[in-house]
Symmetry: D2
Amino acid sequence: MTSPQTPASARPLGVAAIGYAFMGQAHSHAWRTVANHFDVPAFEQKVLVGRHGEAVAAAAQKYGWSESATDWRAVLERDDIDIVDICAPGWLHAEIATAALAAGKHVLVEKPLANSLAESQKMVRAAQAARTAGVRSMVGFNYRRLPALALARQLIAEGRLGSIRQVRASYLQDWLVDGESPMTWRLRKETAGSGALGDIASHAVDQVQFLLGDTVTSVSGTLHTFVTERPGPGGPEAVTVDDAAWATLSLAGGAVASVDVSRVALGQKNALRLEVYGTTGSITFNLESPNELYFLDGTEPVELQGFRRILVTEPGHPYVSGWWPQGHVLGWEHSFTHQIRDFLLAVAGGTDPSPSFEEGLGVQRVLAAIEASAAAGGATTLVEPVPVAEPGGRAASPASASRPGSALVEAAETDSHSSIPSRS
Amino acid sequence: MTSPQTPASARPLGVAAIGYAFMGQAHSHAWRTVANHFDVPAFEQKVLVGRHGEAVAAAAQKYGWSESATDWRAVLERDDIDIVDICAPGWLHAEIATAALAAGKHVLVEKPLANSLAESQKMVRAAQAARTAGVRSMVGFNYRRLPALALARQLIAEGRLGSIRQVRASYLQDWLVDGESPMTWRLRKETAGSGALGDIASHAVDQVQFLLGDTVTSVSGTLHTFVTERPGPGGPEAVTVDDAAWATLSLAGGAVASVDVSRVALGQKNALRLEVYGTTGSITFNLESPNELYFLDGTEPVELQGFRRILVTEPGHPYVSGWWPQGHVLGWEHSFTHQIRDFLLAVAGGTDPSPSFEEGLGVQRVLAAIEASAAAGGATTLVEPVPVAEPGGRAASPASASRPGSALVEAAETDSHSSIPSRS
Amino acid sequence: MTSPQTPASARPLGVAAIGYAFMGQAHSHAWRTVANHFDVPAFEQKVLVGRHGEAVAAAAQKYGWSESATDWRAVLERDDIDIVDICAPGWLHAEIATAALAAGKHVLVEKPLANSLAESQKMVRAAQAARTAGVRSMVGFNYRRLPALALARQLIAEGRLGSIRQVRASYLQDWLVDGESPMTWRLRKETAGSGALGDIASHAVDQVQFLLGDTVTSVSGTLHTFVTERPGPGGPEAVTVDDAAWATLSLAGGAVASVDVSRVALGQKNALRLEVYGTTGSITFNLESPNELYFLDGTEPVELQGFRRILVTEPGHPYVSGWWPQGHVLGWEHSFTHQIRDFLLAVAGGTDPSPSFEEGLGVQRVLAAIEASAAAGGATTLVEPVPVAEPGGRAASPASASRPGSALVEAAETDSHSSIPSRS
Amino acid sequence: MTSPQTPASARPLGVAAIGYAFMGQAHSHAWRTVANHFDVPAFEQKVLVGRHGEAVAAAAQKYGWSESATDWRAVLERDDIDIVDICAPGWLHAEIATAALAAGKHVLVEKPLANSLAESQKMVRAAQAARTAGVRSMVGFNYRRLPALALARQLIAEGRLGSIRQVRASYLQDWLVDGESPMTWRLRKETAGSGALGDIASHAVDQVQFLLGDTVTSVSGTLHTFVTERPGPGGPEAVTVDDAAWATLSLAGGAVASVDVSRVALGQKNALRLEVYGTTGSITFNLESPNELYFLDGTEPVELQGFRRILVTEPGHPYVSGWWPQGHVLGWEHSFTHQIRDFLLAVAGGTDPSPSFEEGLGVQRVLAAIEASAAAGGATTLVEPVPVAEPGGRAASPASASRPGSALVEAAETDSHSSIPSRS
């Protein structure tokens, strides 16, 4: 195990990113712009890594990286690289992340943590070992850093909703609605692991645990494939993953959440919708209108109660002070910029960022339980708890695993918008 | 001048309605159902009056009236008729209403008060004279009795919005969007008086004065006819009324209101939209969703401010306790039921209902000023004040003319929902 | 078995209603107004029946019934009664309905059909027997008669949505959100049968089957009680019914529906929300805005696709021609008026109205399966099929049981709005 | 007059930006990211210019400029600068822009074109002269480049709305709602020129002309200052600009538009709302939800008509192909990125970008007419036409002045989304 190399104070942090497809582009955009908007430690976009030399060179040029490379192992050996941002496909996460951590590089890895539980567990062990040496790791559930959802978390953490009873989380898309759209690797179990479940239910499950600061303990689930066969390269081919999933989740604190995801919900483009119902307040959100949070204050006289549309663009809202004046809305990509900002602050500040690999594994375990429940006809299935590091591991933080939102709330505090002022 | 005849305590009030077209049907429906939902003095649907004997007899039968008649003058002479509800076309309002008041009948007249200012003034004089004898009169701006708008008035009267600065009032419809739809009496100045201005801007102007409890003092206006010619019985015929109107209104208390109405706003079906902006709160409303009032409390921390959707169906909301449990919404027609309820309570209680004929004339004067301003190319035009009854006229109430909402607020108080409880 | 007595042509149909609480008031309102708006066979509001003589007499007077009575059995013996409208509590449905049918009275019964499956089955047998004698029966799933949902059914039946894949049905209320609100009979299993499941999931399940014209064949369900103890007359008392329920339903035609109901969803007042996703179109609806149907036409170019808000108030929309011009919205209660209208037309026309008792039993069977699945930890549970009358039973109509919407579509056809015109 | 210096093919275009406040930051962000998302000619962020050496150096470092400078005149003399982006305050626009054009630099200037008509006219003359030498100029009405509004323009240009009758344009903000917020240079006529009129009505007026491809010919206007005195450095000071404005605009093609802007509309943060009503279609938009365009197709059967919410995030929508997959929304700032993209393409392609300085002057003239009308009590006031270059000026393009949207539509065409596919 190598310790993190050059301290941030001595020279800019060197960053390598691996992958330049959709997620690679989104992460690159964030690295490219974060310092224009936030006070972050100095860093350099050193190298973009990909499999195809020419293509990755063009991408590096386009996205603002100084160089490109095709051998990620070689990059991990470089002394001028302090941070590795893994945007490669899920099946490569474990191998790259464990090697990078072993090399003493701080690691940010796109969600899902990995395609299998075994790999995820291996990654958690690697992260726990690295953490004792001050090496940081984080999984990229970027929606936690949308101002509206960060505000939602704050309101819940401050008790504005009272005790949470119910969550309704759904994530609806429609890009597979056409039964004639062709077979891809995303629709084969051996390459994709699962379908809508792993791809989008993962976000929904993470939000449930993040918003409530709580942990799912058991589930009942159903999976379904509406289009069972699609045109493949050699004729019709069976689709072997789900294109929709439903589950009911029980949380340790007593709340119940429903999760409902689909890739064939015609007309829904990217509708991660969240509804949280507490004893004294409620919240709703839709990712298609990401600057809006709807909040109902149940302590008002009932004749004045109603869901209010908060346009989350005030300077006092999470992350917004880095951007534009009130009413000038942000987009989807800004969640990645905020993620990089918090990751850099954690690396420089010597703290463990959230969501940790443990939290990423926690989501994977819930998804695995849903899959197992579905296979058993919906029977209630327990979620295996996430392992906590041994006592010896000083930096191991059971708290951060059990309170997924804590790091953000703390980060937010340093950002001087720790809490919404009370009514005067 | 005859005094109102039999006291309400002795026998049920006898009601005659004149007119059985659209408005006649709406009023009949209200008479038919009001006692099923509200505690009102006993009354009987005695007679429906119309020009065509057979048709009015069928309508009387259908809408629940005991008899029908074709001669309204004869009906006014009947001792068993205490109340006359005038739903006849506007050009008949003045003649019937003054005769009915002179005969000691309480009068409810559909808006607009009359087609001309001269007629309206005559009606006001008749109402003022009758009032001294305890005869009641009211003009039917029914939207004041929608629970959501009655609630809006309460919130403003209670100071929840602070001092009002701006109102945006528009009323958009689209039933004349087709340039080939034929000529009708509504599109000829000699029969209709005006177009969108008199028909729908009247509601918008009444709401501005009602919600603010204030009076328009000057205006700048524009009228326009988009479809200048339509198929008539003998070939193309010129449209001689406006199909859209715009105006800026100055109110005595310092607020400025914009009014914007159209019959060719394709896709808007019945969109009376109101936005009221005060120093500490704001309100918006749309008649197409009449159970919803949007309210923003500007005294909250700015990070939590937002327009909240109040579903105005709580028992504590104006008029709602007569109906269904929370969340079971009312429709357009209920405004007429509430209007009848308040009118009956005023008649039985010996108080003057609002909106009075003076208030109806007040709206007409604003419309006349808009028309005059438009004719003068938009030049600012003063609104002539509404005459107040002579000092001798005991019941004359300048206050009710200048505070259009007062009667409703008082009526509401008797209904045990005088005010929204304060925050505890 | 008595045949229906006097033919409708001979004298007005005599109607008796049993019950005068919330539902009794809603039905009375519908009887009181239906003939003012629709061409229906002549009828008379003869008698209102209730347990408490004085109270039912007052209610009869208020709601427009000629007389009142306390003994429903005596009323069933009257020759002048042709129709019995049962608004009594669920535990009385079976006894009254079977007796009324045996007496040759046409029966409309509020949903749910009965509190137990055994009673429901008995009622179905009674209805099947009566049907052979021309005696009609119907269960009151009134939301089928909201214009927006009737339009939704039309669009689906006409194939506008293609093949339906997914339905999301939820019904959220909040009247039990306060943990201190007292114990009532509705919260005890012995009196209420179930909680949110029977009360509001029944509507959601009926809509799923109605809109798709399909039948649920198996379910996976979860029930939960968030507030397990409430103040009772003699101290804290255990709540023995669910206050929220979740289920995944498989339909015979291959669609999957999720159902999600709650009485503690703070801020949701009466939110029956429906989302139907097909291969070429989608629909959404919310009962809190019942005049609006959202429709997405997936055959448009994707750049122009979007959920359009149809304000269902055009004369060509189901039921609307009986009411007001476009844009003048209807309320919750109108669904009952339309229900009475269709019931009267069926009675007079000699056809069987829908939803039949079989359809009511069908909903009960689905709810029973959800309850059984929940008790088994969510395990997939088959829904027992609804029995169809023997071949001898001439009027028995398996078709109407399997195609729940057919009768309405036919009724709608007679109403001259059988189908939305195609694009020209 | 100098010709543009080095051809774009020889070396990257050198860019200088002047100003680093709010608009400077927004433009810098756009320069920083445009090449990561769009194929644009090579360029370099050479130098950022500001008055305060230290501050501008920090800003240059933060926003990605290679150097900083304090003397813009010296920068104009540099041979390596091809493009000058003017984000300095309005009173400096004319001086810098005319000097830059004279030096052969392509100029992009923030809106408004200038603070006075005299300056604006001077700038137009300079632009017309420079245009003959191939030097390009553009004014930054960035909202034209929001995908939703670019799509709106396309739909209107393609005739989807038929002939436009009415536009309702409003721009509501609330940052001056607090009467105690202090005096600033923006509230003094001598420094700001005007208040809400110049600042936000300018956007509304530009959109009216852009969307319709038409020109305002006369106006009737009203200005108002609600808070007439604010705390100044030496005690209370008079506010000498408007904080709200209203106007009715007549367009050459026969349409009428209303414009309504305010800085005290409590709860409205950045609500540029547009409603366009045509004979066969309508459109609405709100800048607070900038990814959504609402479109009503009036050629559908009326029973199916409704405003559809188009989420303008499809690859086929204007500008979107440079960004993320469908449903991943963009923010306010992207309009600037698209503006830079189109400006660069015009510079490299040798075409004149739109909006031209003539179009900027056109907006100023409308605002001046509103001010004059308001001063005359609302009297109808003609808008002075914008001068067109002399015949000798080869590149002078009266067409682009009279058809404000044409350049964008053409630019869009090169982007392979020239038009929305017709229905098949």
